[in-house]
Symmetry: C2
Subunit: 79 residues, 2 copies
């Protein structure tokens, strides 16, 4: 199975990388951009064939290593 994890800064947490990118797009003449936010996407290939178990395992991975849950939210999609 494949797990696709998207990790983003929580609403209200300043995203300096996004702000810098927004600024750079403006400088390059891309007007019409309201907001830019940048996150991580992690794709994990798992040996497990059990979707529910895989999701549980990936949740644990996120909480212990992949995401900083103080400032980040994450979503998991198992395929």
């Amino acid at each position: 199975m494949t797990a696709i994890i998207n990790i983003f800064l929580k609403e209200g947490v300043l995203d300096p990388q996004g702000k810098a990118t927004h600024h750079a797009l403006d400088s390059l003449g891309f007007s019409g951009v309201d907001d830019v936010r940048i996150g991580k996407q992690i794709i994990i290939k798992l040996e497990s064939e059990d979707k529910i178990e895989a999701e549980k395992e990936v949740h644990k991975m996120c909480d212990t290593l992949l995401a900083n849950t103080v400032i980040e939210d994450y979503t998991i999609e198992i395929r």
Copy 2:
């Protein structure tokens, strides 16, 4: 409209961040992981309400600033 851009290293390009994460997951006792790849997800809020035009604009943004097309591939989803 909202553009969701996923940027990943091309197949065959070494992903040291993914390798390190894979190793860390192993050390933490998460066996059953075959592969880890880490990319960026960029979410851009656009003023434009024209889907086709928005997609064209975002393609240009990726080619000029957001992605390094020598070593990275990207996908665009417009919502």
